[in-house]
Symmetry: C2
Subunit: 294 residues, 2 copies
């Protein structure tokens, strides 16, 4: 009875849709979505992420540009690239892979990106636009959650949505999206975090529970009510001697323990995770097509 929300399948579908729309944008308007990716240093995870973003953008027919700088690169060098791309009409989206080396001020770099090309949605102006309800770029993970809510017809209206976690990239934006008077939203939203004496007081009442806190097995069956929808944004690596790598990925929720109680749930991996790159591509497309214009 439990719906398993298949983020991998949805993200593949979105990418197929984007490839078709990109063909049309090229043939009808002569516009090719352009994404500039900047990687500074040798962080192995960052290299993998940038590689995936480059690969997918090419699959969709985008113009993609990757600049890799050594971790000795100066803040000025990074800002120079951003300035150049801000003024380049062939670039519609700029992404600086985080984290940056310590000698570079991340906030300064994020704020140097034109809000009109900030497809990661990290600039305060885009954050403010999201909260106010103005057109702008929504950061990729919350945008992915909204897309799953829409495509699985999850009814948020009047429901109690409990968000665990108050990060700038997940908790805050998704909480601010889901109380708004919009078709996919209009929920009563509680934002809960490590400052709570007892989070189960809140999770037990949740109709929709969104966890983004990075604690494996934080949510077990005794913390939820029958019929809840769970969106698990946690990605935690735990030891697993049955795996060649000696570890495996789990979310913040004890998936096996809770799944029969849920009306719907996202697995980890394969739930929210795969949506992120798809949403980056969608934001880049929306920037190129002018559908998110301001």
């Amino acid at each position: 009875m439990t719906k398993i929300i298949d983020g991998k399948a949805v993200s593949e579908q979105i990418k197929q849709e984007l490839a078709v729309k990109t063909e049309l944008l090229k043939s009808e308007k002569g516009i090719t979505p352009g994404l500039a990716l900047l990687l500074v240093g040798d962080n192995p995870a960052s290299k993998v992420y940038v590689g995936s973003k480059e690969r997918v953008s090419k699959e969709l027919g985008y113009h993609s540009l990757v600049v890799k700088l050594p971790d000795t690169a100066s803040e000025e060098e990074v800002l120079e690239y951003i300035k150049k791309w801000n003024n380049d009409p062939e670039i519609h989206g700029i992404l600086v892979q985080l984290p940056l080396p310590k000698h570079i001020d991340e906030n300064k770099v994020i704020m140097a990106i034109s809000p009109r090309k900030d497809v990661d949605g990290f600039h305060p102006e885009n954050f403010g636009r999201l909260v106010i309800g103005l057109p702008g770029f929504v950061s990729c993970t919350p945008a992915g959650i909204v897309e799953l809510i829409k495509r699985y017809d999850i009814d948020v209206k009047g429901k109690h949505v409990v968000v665990i976690g108050r990060s700038n990239i997940v908790g805050k934006p998704i909480a601010n999206l889901l109380y708004q008077k919009r078709d996919f939203a209009n929920g009563i939203v509680t934002i809960c975090h490590t400052g709570a004496k007892d989070i189960s007081k809140y999770t037990l009442d949740a109709d929709i529970l969104i966890t983004a806190i990075g604690v494996p097995n934080l949510i077990r069956k005794e913390n939820i009510k029958e019929g809840v929808v769970i969106i698990d944004v946690g990605i935690n690596s735990i030891p697993d001697s049955t795996k060649k790598s000696g570890q495996r990925l789990v979310g913040d929720v004890d998936f096996e323990g809770v799944k029969d109680m849920c009306s719907a749930i996202t697995p980890v991996p394969g739930g929210v995770g795969p949506m992120t790159i798809a949403m980056l591509m969608q934001n880049t497309y929306l920037s190129a097509s002018g559908e998110v214009g301001f």
Copy 2:
């Protein structure tokens, strides 16, 4: 036993503090806080508000500048003034009194104000800064609520804060301030609104209840729990034949009915209301002194 939160007294104290600090800023750094106020049209309430803002800024020793345009003024004219003040080093704060005549795009006007001089805190960049937790201008009503929380030593940490109303000027910003990991905050925040089937489910659990919805007597004693702190931001005019004007102001809360159950409560009038102008003056001072700089 109930503490009546006296916003009038606190606002007077803040204004006195600002007058002293302004003297120092002038004598030590040669800086006079400058506030530019723009009024378009003949809305009687707007005229009163702008008049009060002008009077208080003069009392505090600010350089204040009021421009009144007829309601036939064009959007371009309004934008011209903003552009001039954005570039005027003697102006540290710009306030355009809302509402504007219908032929002028309010969003466009608000966004034309430099975020660095947006002492009303309405620009999306300042809104985003508030949510992210970066330095910026917090809009006056939520800033006033935070000031009352601080000066009355209301303990928000780990408490369930229920905000009724999701407006851009009160509900959204105060909700986003009070869940943050900051000394005056760190609450578990629920944002509730007209989309809820039954708001009393949420209000009954509130340790701190903030109402900003504009419905007289929405909250009665059967909707709250013993010991709650109530911040009533509603300002509603109701008929009252005992008054010369035939009406009086009340909040969203049945003050007389609930006050003995509360540990603290703001009256209407005399609670949050008087804080607004004080916070506008504080924002203007902080802009002039560079304490809020970005």
